[in-house]
């Protein structure tokens, strides 16, 4: 375990150094990621400027949903890679080489593509979080800071789980399953607004099938110190971020199952 952590940090430092070689490109991409994530937020501001509120939520409250999910997702996206090329590794048989190395295949995959230029999304998320805290006069007690941190980590674990799940399915299909990207990126989009605005079937899907609400909507109620219009209990809200870690654990089990049944395509 410690050994893996060391190896991971080594990969990370190599990746930072190599991306810094193309400085202009790095900075442009960073600005680009900041702006393109920011666009969505500009959209939220523009709409709430016209409508004044979204159901019972005002702009800073909606902004908190935006901030938390974007921080969670960018943490996962930047530091764990996106497994984008994985189906290709399977198709070409390249993946077999990963299996021969004396380290876990997952660790090697995670460190394949660290896209630190997505830092823009993270920075924007923190900026919005800060602004929200100041505007709503949230009291950041140590307990609340800890809870917010756990929520973010739970969210990052949730997204990592989704990405691993998508990769695992490729063991059988040898194709990239874009459908699951819809759940990943669509999930980020969905969690940018309070769950109450969606239709019941949609809410249920993102609570019970894909437990996204557990790492966004429910813990954010705790952070905002608001009661739930949907009527969930306080205990459930406090416990909800743990669903992210549980989801990751389940996805890891599925990954191990898939790995055991992996047959090289042989090409």
């Amino acid at each position: 375990m410690l050994d893996s952590l060391y190896l991971y940090s080594h990969y990370l430092s190599i990746s930072i150094r190599s991306q810094m070689q193309y400085q202009t490109s790095f900075i442009l991409l960073l600005v680009g990621s900041f702006l393109s994530t920011g666009l969505e937020f500009v959209g939220v501001i523009v709409l709430l400027n016209r409508f004044h509120h979204l159901q019972n939520w005002n702009l800073p409250e909606v902004a908190l949903f935006y901030a938390i999910v974007n921080i969670s997702f960018s943490l996962c996206d930047m530091t764990m890679g996106s497994f984008v090329g994985f189906p290709n590794l399977l198709k070409t048989g390249e993946f077999d080489r990963f299996l021969l190395r004396p380290r876990s295949a997952l660790l090697q995959l995670m460190t394949q593509q660290l896209t630190l230029n997505r830092l823009g999304r993270l920075l924007l998320g923190f900026a919005v979080l800060l602004w929200t805290g100041l505007t709503l006069h949230l009291v950041w007690s140590p307990a609340k800071i800890l809870f917010t941190g756990l929520t973010i980590l739970g969210g990052a674990s949730f997204f990592l789980g989704l990405i691993i799940l998508q990769a695992t399915l490729s063991f059988w299909t040898i194709e990239s399953l874009e459908i699951l990207s819809i759940v990943t990126y669509g999930g980020v989009e969905t969690a940018q607004y309070p769950l109450t605005i969606y239709q019941p079937w949609f809410r249920r899907f993102f609570t019970f099938v894909i437990p996204l609400a557990g790492v966004s909507y429910y813990p954010i109620l705790v952070i905002l110190e608001r009661s739930d219009p949907l009527g969930s209990s306080a205990i459930a809200q406090y416990l909800s971020p743990s669903i992210g870690f549980l989801f990751l654990w389940i996805c890891l089990k599925i990954w191990q199952f898939g790995l055991r049944h992996y047959r090289s395509s042989g090409s």
């Binding site: 991409l29 680009g32 669509g186």
Partner: protein, 263 residues
């Protein structure tokens, strides 16, 4: 003219092969449209402030926007980027054909194939199964069709310009990403333009980006009278000519200092 027609038709036939990828893209757009319409339902149902669009118009705007999303969005031509990176772009220079015309043909072929593979299915699904209404009148429909044609020509000019900037930076994504940010926000994809603050409207009306999506849609939903198609067409034409001239100048400048990488 005939070599261009041959290029466009060959290219379209190639691009139409990618149907599975188109299916995934289509589902993404439908999902996005679903989230957006639910968002607007919530916004309209909880607010009594008078809005620039009615709820029905806003929903139509969203679905038409999702249908045209792939066509409007500026994507780097992957094949072209690869050509610049590997140096095979040199072959392009050898072809006995005007280079700008050739690249423009590539761009417009891509967009025509996207209309067939993405826009039409999403439009039909939204119209037949979801809550998209038919055009407000026959005249509105005609104006919408003409404006969309103008948008197609204009978006290809912007995209060709984006490709030409790749001659300067090999990585190249940076500038195109920034250009894309402008397209996304000022065309009305992220938020329908009528919702933007009133003081910003003159700027939005001046920029070419609204001609890509917002202006055609406003004819469809009946927010702009069909007669004003003439004004819009003039606006589109002015930008098309301007961007083509700019593109040609940049291409000429780029070729003067072109160093072929690789070999």
């Amino acid at each position: 003219m005939s070599p261009y027609i041959a290029i466009v038709s060959a290219r379209i036939r190639t691009l139409l092969q990618y149907r599975i990828a188109a299916l995934a893209g289509m589902l993404t757009q439908l999902f996005w449209g679903l989230i957006r319409t639910m968002l607007f339902t919530a916004l309209y149902s909880s607010s009594s402030v008078t809005q620039p669009l009615t709820y029905g118009q806003a929903v139509d705007y969203i679905w038409l926007g999702q249908a045209m999303f792939a066509v409007t969005m500026l994507t780097i031509d992957q094949d072209f980027q690869e050509m610049v990176r590997t140096g095979t772009v040199a072959y392009e220079l050898l072809r006995p054909i005007d280079l700008y015309g050739l690249w423009y043909c590539r761009a417009i072929s891509k967009r025509i194939s996207l209309i067939v593979l993405r826009s039409l299915p999403i439009f039909l699904i939204a119209l037949l199964l979801l809550d998209l209404h038919p055009p407000s009148s026959l005249a509105a429909c005609g104006a919408w069709a003409i404006a969309t044609l103008g948008a197609l020509v204009l978006t290809s000019a912007i995209s060709t310009l984006g490709s030409i900037t790749l001659l300067w930076t090999i990585a190249g994504n940076g500038i195109n990403q920034l250009l894309n940010v402008a397209v996304l926000i000022f065309s009305g994809i992220i938020v329908p333009l009528p919702f933007f603050p009133d003081w910003l409207q003159p700027l939005l009306n001046f920029l070419p980006f609204r001609d890509l999506l917002d202006a055609p849609l406003r004819f469809y939903i009946g927010q702009m009278p069909p007669e004003s198609i003439l004004i819009l067409a003039a606006h589109q034409l002015a930008w098309i000519l301007g961007l083509i001239i700019l593109g040609r100048l940049m291409l000429a400048a780029g070729l003067r200092r072109l160093v072929i990488q690789g070999g």
